[in-house]
């Protein structure tokens, strides 16, 4: 059991998402940064699809009520065990009563806490991903008790580290495919999209990232059609909106790009004011 002593800015339990229910209007959900989440799970020996805690910007304070192991990956939010700094991307052993807290935000935006065996929260439509209206809890609150498995097995610390490439936390490059309405863009629009840098506006969350700089636009809305996480929409007043994991299933704005999966991870770690640049996916 993990007890939430203090809640963070926005934390939720996520796995790789809820598939097969978009036809009923249910968002896919799931971890924003699949690279970090699957890395943390793999290091623990979990299946990559196990549910992890997605921690945004300022972390919670958690108390473990059993012996187990965990691993933190993604953004570095200065994790501490019993007030002593611990390393990212390595297996940490805890005993009953140990306290995990977070401090200064060093890089990235979203950190992932994987525990041995995964978080055992409610399963709705084959997924533990929290989403308002689908799961009973849509975020982690103070006093929540989260069920986890005990792990008292011996483990050799020497084997418990692995090289990891964290350069994606600092790249500006977002790789894109053509979206269904890309061919309706003018030459000038296309030139602007690939020559300018765009910054992340303050409107960004699990549903969407809005970009700050508008694009001169003449495109009309489309008849409501299908969208997916990673779709870049262009609104009539020229706003660029990148849809993220909790996005709606349908939308009426022209879809100009579709992000490559790995670029979803890159964007998930960006916050207000940081810049990105679009590039075609390399074949």
């Amino acid at each position: 059991m993990v007890e939430v002593l203090k809640e963070g800015f926005y934390d939720s339990i996520q796995d790789l998402g809820r598939f097969g229910y978009q036809q009923y209007g249910v968002p896919v959900s799931g971890v924003m940064d699949t690279y970090a989440a699957t890395f943390a799970n793999s290091l623990l020996g979990n299946e990559v699809k196990e549910a992890v805690m997605e921690i945004t910007m300022t972390g919670p304070k958690l108390k473990f009520h059993c012996h187990t192991t965990f691993c933190i990956s993604g953004a570095n939010l200065s994790p501490c065990l019993n007030n002593m700094p611990i390393k990212m991307n390595q297996i940490v052993r805890v005993t009953d009563g140990d306290m995990l807290s977070f401090g200064k935000h060093m890089d990235g935006l979203r950190s992932y806490l994987a525990v041995f065996g995964g978080f055992q929260t409610e399963i709705i439509y084959q997924s533990k991903s929290m989403y308002q209206g689908i799961t009973n809890h849509f975020k982690i609150n103070k006093n929540d008790l989260l069920s986890i498995s005990e792990n008292t097995a011996f483990f050799n610390k020497k084997h418990a580290s692995i090289k990891r490439n964290d350069s994606y936390l600092n790249t500006k490059v977002i790789s894109v495919f053509k979206g269904p309405e890309f061919d309706q863009l003018s030459e000038n629009q296309i030139k602007a999209l690939f020559s300018k840098e765009f910054s992340i506006s303050k409107h960004h969350n699990r549903m969407a990232y809005q970009l700050e700089q508008p694009l001169e636009n003449h495109l009309e809305p489309i008849i409501t059609s299908l969208v997916m996480p990673g779709t870049v929409q262009l609104t009539p007043d020229g706003k660029l909106i990148v849809l993220m994991r909790d996005c709606q299933t349908t939308g009426g704005y022209p879809r100009i790009f579709q992000l490559e999966e790995s670029s979803m991870n890159v964007l998930s770690q960006k916050f207000t004011g940081q810049t990105i640049r679009f590039k075609w996916v390399q074949p």
Binding site: I223, T224, G230
Partner: protein
């Protein structure tokens, strides 16, 4: 099936199929038939088939290495399928209470389109609506079939909180808010029915191609139905329809 379709890659693991950019029941039927024909092939790599007014999105569980091959297969399914007159659509009778306590925008609409409240209720509840698809929110049905005299532009500022079950109209569309949410349509009544139920294996009772009629009920009846719905003993009245 005889429309000129376009096939586009959408990302690297989905294919978007598009029909002409118009909203029509003929296109809806064609989409439903094509979707069913693909489902019947039980292609293992397909994760989900999703539809909207004039599109069908096919998502695969892996990256499509050869887009042209997948498209050729889909085209052959489309061209070899015949229209069966065996559509399985259902007519759902949805109770709606148009009481002033629910129909909070009835007065404003009445002023702006120059029809009395009872005329608006009559026109709304006399219509037969077609379910085009489910989107926007879990369980939100995109309904076609609103009479032209009830076309009202959407509210210029959306409400932050629209009550669950709110029956609304906006532009040429009609709908019901399945859960509390923000919304820019005009609210004319409330239905005690659940349009999205996570406790059910399939969360929505309605499917694309089904029909909906709204049956006016009193405030008292609304409350009674709501109690039965919450107790899980309410059965929505429905009729099977011939194709």
């Amino acid at each position: 099936m005889s429309f000129q379709l376009t096939f586009k890659p959408y990302g690297n693991r989905s294919i978007l199929i598009e029909w002409p950019s118009i909203i029509s029941e003929t296109i809806l039927e064609d989409i439903i038939h094509f979707k069913r024909a693909i489902s019947e092939k039980k292609i293992k790599s397909i994760v989900e088939l999703k539809t909207a007014y004039n599109s069908l999105l096919i998502s695969y569980n892996t990256v499509c290495r050869n887009f042209e091959n997948e498209v050729d297969l889909l085209k052959s399914i489309y061209n070899s399928s015949r229209f069966h007159n065996d559509s399985l659509s259902v007519l759902w009778k949805i109770p709606v209470c148009y009481d002033d306590s629910f129909g909070i925008d009835l007065k404003d609409i009445s002023n702006s389109i120059g029809l009395s409240k009872s005329d608006i209720i009559k026109l709304h509840s006399n219509g037969i609506y077609t379910v085009y698809f489910i989107g926007f929110l879990p369980g939100f049905l995109y309904l076609g079939g609103l009479v032209q005299s009830l076309y009202v532009p959407r509210k210029s500022t959306p409400r932050l909180n629209v009550e669950k079950g709110s029956v609304a109209i906006g532009g040429n569309q009609a709908g019901i808010y399945p859960n509390e949410s923000p919304g820019g349509w005009h609210i004319i009544g409330n239905s005690p029915i659940s349009f999205f139920d996570v406790t059910k294996k399939i969360p929505c009772f309605a499917n694309s191609g089904d029909k909906i009629v709204f049956v006016p009920v009193s405030f008292k009846e609304h409350q009674n139905i709501k109690i039965s719905v919450e107790a899980g003993v309410y059965n929505i009245e429905s009729e099977a329809m011939d194709g």
